[in-house]
Symmetry: C2
Subunit: 171 residues, 2 copies
DNA sequence: TATTGTTATACTCTATAACTATA
DNA sequence: TATAGTTATAGAGTATAACAATA
């Protein structure tokens, strides 16, 4: 029989004061809950995000979606194959650039997405169960603002964590 | 030449309104920045979290740390081997239970941890660069409260995302 | 020459199972 | 019988490189 961990911090508990730790715990809990929520959907939570992206107007390309949800374009190929096989979306050539293919949800895909959203919201409530409605909205808003900023950065650029330290030491 | 993504949401941009999407973006950005910050440390950000845990008093066991940072105990073995080989921590038998081993940071490990913390804070600043100091503290606090709650739950239990829906539909 | 999407391959990471020693 | 830690193996997931079509 193991003792349950306390919700409270104890003196010297530096791990659980770390933001990176909290982020990891919340992220893994979301993955677990969202995996339950998405059930048999190809790609699970990742498939849900692709479906969300495939309803955007004007339509976006495979590589844009891949970059936005943080996967490689080679992985996107297989994921779209699976979702297309289920009839949830289609790939169609971009009239403006024939190398590119636009990802568009089918009617069936939109229907499935409606159902998924209700379940995904449940998963989010599970993750944020500690917070009341006001705090949940604050957290969602702050996370979204942070994410939108990060999403707009050059994905190939380094974060300059080391460089900043060196510069700060010189000053 | 590709157009940079806007920080602003557009009509129908349902993906970037999703909390799961924001969580993923922030988490991946943290991993990227923390990887830069931890440099040659075995295990990278994960190694940092083990070091944080290995300063706790009273000392904790390998399996407790593994559960807390979300990795398998079999992975923990290799990670501790690497950190111990660098002289950053030691494993010693728990006098109260000779099956268990306590993980304790060495003086060298504590020193290294001090340096790491400054760099890790830079990584966190990178991730939260969009927010001012007040909002950063709000976000950190809300995330920590959520994480402490989730950390106290039974890790083998399901999230009951589906069950809750069925119950709600009946009501 | 650079980019999109595809495919095949190689690699890394993770999960599973088996084993020892303790409880 | 159950648990902590270790080890070896298998599987899943990911990254790399090469290719065809297009810009």
């Amino acid at each position: 029989m193991e003792m349950a961990r306390s919700h409270e911090l104890v003196e010297g508990d530096t791990l659980r004061r770390d933001f990176g730790w909290a982020l990891g715990v919340v992220f893994r809990a979301y993955l677990k809950a969202a995996n339950e929520a998405t059930g048999t959907l190809p790609g699970g939570p990742r498939g849900h995000q692709v479906l969300e992206a495939s309803t955007r107007r004007p339509p976006v390309s495979q590589s844009v979606i891949a970059q936005e949800i943080g996967i490689d374009r080679t992985v996107m190929t297989y994921l779209l194959d699976d979702l297309e096989r289920e009839g949830l979306l289609t790939r169609r050539p971009d009239p403006a650039d024939r190398r590119s293919r636009q990802v568009v949800a089918t009617d069936k895909g939109v229907e499935r997405l409606e159902e998924l959203r209700a379940l995904i919201l449940r998963a989010q409530d599970f993750v944020l169960q500690e917070l009341d409605e006001v705090d949940r909205n604050s957290l969602r808003c702050l996370m979204q603002r942070s994410a939108l900023r990060l999403d707009s950065l050059d994905p190939t650029a380094p974060c300059n964590v080391i460089q900043d330290i060196a510069a700060a030491d010189q000053a």
